[in-house]
Symmetry: C2
Subunit: 451 residues, 2 copies
């Protein structure tokens, strides 16, 4: 009997890797992000490693950057989440499949249907990452001149969630009797038309699809703002987040779980998963060398632009192979500059190495031997800085195989990560309750995520 | 060398069968319409029969009828097209996958992306059935009080098509060079931002996905009105249609192909496929008996309501087991009443049988032995009433297996239907040209479907 807190692991797979140099890494697949055969194999590898879920971020436009930087991006062509995840459902059996969908640029009826359909197709493995869309340029693809205002986006998101979950509840779980003898296909008493009329949406319903296998697909949120954290506390069952230190992680964790207390939700019913960039070596030195190699593949022009932004000072004139010079005070964010200066000092990085680190990935990273990585993951778990991680891989397939072959067994040995899936659905594997149907189920002994 | 005109065959698979009694037929799967394992097997059977395509109709609401009739409907729960077709792409290799998507209730950026993604996932087998949405109740699920006006729907559809195809052309076919050495992933000269600003849409682009494998997925249209036929003539490569007699079929065919002449498109570049309900028996008598059995499974209450509507006269008081009595004149459509009276006389149907025929399927039907069905299909083909058919099956799996095992070999023997797929993509199998990329290709020797 395992009494230890269990780690939850997602893998960020759109982009297959966030690191801009990854597609050039020796032995990596340059087209990893846009090759269906590869993606099927990655999903199967994740399942072999007993990962909870495959996570697809999503952006409604080509990322906002000058063509000269964009041309180096391996994510400029990506599959669309619903179609890709439905295809991967057939290549896997237990892996959760989480798609990002925007509440700002979509319609609740379509989103409710697509997730319900994906949940049925995958046998109950769908999850919805609710975003209000971070890239402001997306608005230009949907008839707007500028992005919808932040507060308004979140108000719309909250109502969108109510409509979608209300549509998922259109049919009772046992509505479909298919009685060949009498010719009755479903019990009409078990169908409810939503008749929603709110500030943003008016949706009659019912949905034209049976209730999802999980009741509702698992709800995910990644907002960082006050409004984003509140939405997560009220509705989400997984929170993705970006935290750069254990202390930051603890603060975020306490904040969101505290908000859950206030709205009367059990803390266990939301799993907080910070994004972690993981580079595995057989030794610490080897892992560091891999990362240095990877960073060296970031183009210097884009790298130096990132460094200039972080410093609030034009860095293009610095000697690339010398240490970072003293930087005069400026109006730029002092904390950002100090973080960069401190990073250069700590890791003894040249200007070039520092710039390439920032142009690659500069957030939370676990770089080391398998035991060292497991130590850090366990530390975050025990310190209540997280309930697990959304793992970002350095390059594919090597970085993924290293994690599954070396880190996963180490986590399993420590009794903090599953050896076998506990159930058939994502919800069962995450030990999350099944939401009650607001129109048909009694309120006892059921989930608290409902409006 | 085959010189004969070739028949094109689609299969209507959402609903798996349009006949409301089908799920009750002896040996049929009652859940055929909503069972993924069955649907995969059906798609594989169609592929074994060398069908051109699997066609998913789509409706954005639960069909508009009273609960007491609705409760007998086996299509009230259906998969959503993009997710189902992406799942079926993995279970098949050559079968075309046509999804219906509404230009009235969707956004062009989303639709362009999803079809492009489906086309990449399926290796170039996607098709888009452009509809303006026939069910007026759909509007209630998208914040409207009533359906968008017909002419306005078609104006929006035309612009929607221009935007979607323009987004598909965002990247040249050879944009992605993935040069690991130089670090250039795509050639920026081969990316075009659409910058569309029109009456209905303003969409900057570019699309965040490579050009579809087929250039564009195959364009399908099913509009019957003047505006619908014009849209088909201007843009479509397949027209689905409902025609009840050979003469009607010829008129429609001549009308639409004549419209193509006027806009300067080659007649071959649009395949006209009327819907045909097909019931196969080893003999004519057996086929008729199957159909009578099937019709008898339609509930009498719904059936009599259909009959009353067609007659413009309340039929609920008629003796169900007697012939149709004389009907007094009324304001109802005279042609509809005459068609029904003539049908009852020709097939010597009782009131019950007539009502159940109307409640089942009363459009074009080929009911007979394999040779008789092939005769009729060949007749339509040679008489230029169609380029093939969109086959509607009576019940599943039996009706499908009968067609593939018995009718397909008969068509092949006559040299009017393929024995092997000609190509890898839907476009290749239909012998349709690949659309040129308006931003990157020269105008020579390429498709004429472009704006
Ligand atoms: C791990 C992670 C994944 C995210 N994925 C997406 C995404 O796919 N699409 C998107 O528009 N935003 C994404 N975001 C951004 C968040 O949705 C959110 O906009 C951002 O954290 C800023 O928070 P705020 O919107 O509450 O101000 C992601 C954030 C994190 C931390
Ligand atoms: C074979 C066939 C399939 C159709 N499938 C759909 C469909 O899936 N969704 C829909 O809204 N309309 C569908 N329609 C309806 C047409 O799109 C169109 O609305 C109808 O034929 C009336 O024509 P009009 O809209 O030009 O007046 C279909 C029609 C036919 C003949």
């Amino acid at each position: 009997m395992t009494e230890r807190r269990q780690l939850r692991l997602g893998a960020v797979m759109r982009p297959t890797t966030i690191h801009t140099g990854a597609w050039r890494y020796p032995g990596a697949y340059p087209d990893a992000n846009f090759n269906l055969a590869h993606l099927k194999r990655f999903a199967q590898t994740l399942e072999g490693g007993r990962f909870d879920l495959f996570f697809m971020a999503d952006h409604l436009g080509v990322l906002n950057m000058p063509l000269d930087a964009l041309k180096r991006s391996h994510t400029v062509t990506s599959f669309e989440p619903f179609t890709l995840l439905a295809a991967l459902a057939g290549a896997t059996e237990r892996l959760g499949l989480v798609a990002t969908a925007s509440t700002t640029f979509e319609e609740p009826f379509h989103i409710a249907r697509r997730f319900a359909s994906l949940d049925h197709i995958s046998g109950g493995r769908a999850g919805w990452n609710i975003v209000t869309t971070s890239n402001p340029d997306s608005a230009l693809n949907f008839g707007l001149e500028e992005h919808v205002e932040h507060g308004e986006r979140y108000r719309r998101a909250r109502e969108f969630f109510d409509v979608v979950t209300g549509l998922w509840d259109s049919f009772a779980d046992d509505a479909f009797i298919r009685d060949v003898e009498s010719g009755v296909y479903f019990d009409p008493a078990k169908l409810h038309a939503l008749n929603h009329k709110g500030a943003h949406f008016s949706v009659r319903g019912p949905l034209n699809i049976a209730r999802p296998i999980q009741g509702w697909p698992v709800i995910v949120q990644a907002g960082a703002s006050e409004a984003g954290r509140q939405l997560a506390a009220e509705t989400a069952e997984i929170a993705f987040t970006s935290q750069s230190s254990l202390a930051d992680g603890q603060r975020f964790y306490a904040d969101v779980k505290g908000r859950m207390d206030k709205v009367g939700r059990a803390r266990d019913h939301l799993k907080i998963l910070p994004a972690a960039f993981v580079v595995v070596g057989d030794t610490l030195e080897e892992a560091r060398a891999k990362r240095a190699k990877l960073d060296s593949l970031v183009h210097y022009d884009s790298a130096i632009a990132s460094l200039s932004v972080s410093l609030g000072h034009d860095a293009s004139g610095f000697d690339p192979d010398a240490p970072l010079p003293e930087i005069p005070e400026s109006n730029a964010s002092k904390s950002s500059r100090e973080r960069v200066v401190e990073l250069a000092r700590r890791e003894k990085l040249t200007v070039r190495q520092l710039a390439q680190r920032l142009g690659g990935y500069a957030g939370l990273a676990f770089v080391g031997a398998p035991a060292g990585i497991a130590d850090q993951m366990e530390e975050w778990l025990l310190a209540e800085a997280s309930d697990g991680f959304n793992v970002m891989l350095p390059y594919l397939p090597g970085g993924l195989e290293d994690f599954v072959d070396k880190v996963v067994p180490e986590l399993q040995r420590r009794g903090i990560f599953r050896r076998e899936y506990e159930g058939a659905t994502l919800r069962e594997n995450l030990d999350l309750p099944r939401p009650r149907n607001r129109f048909f189920d009694s309120a006892e002994g059921v989930a608290d995520v409902s409006s």
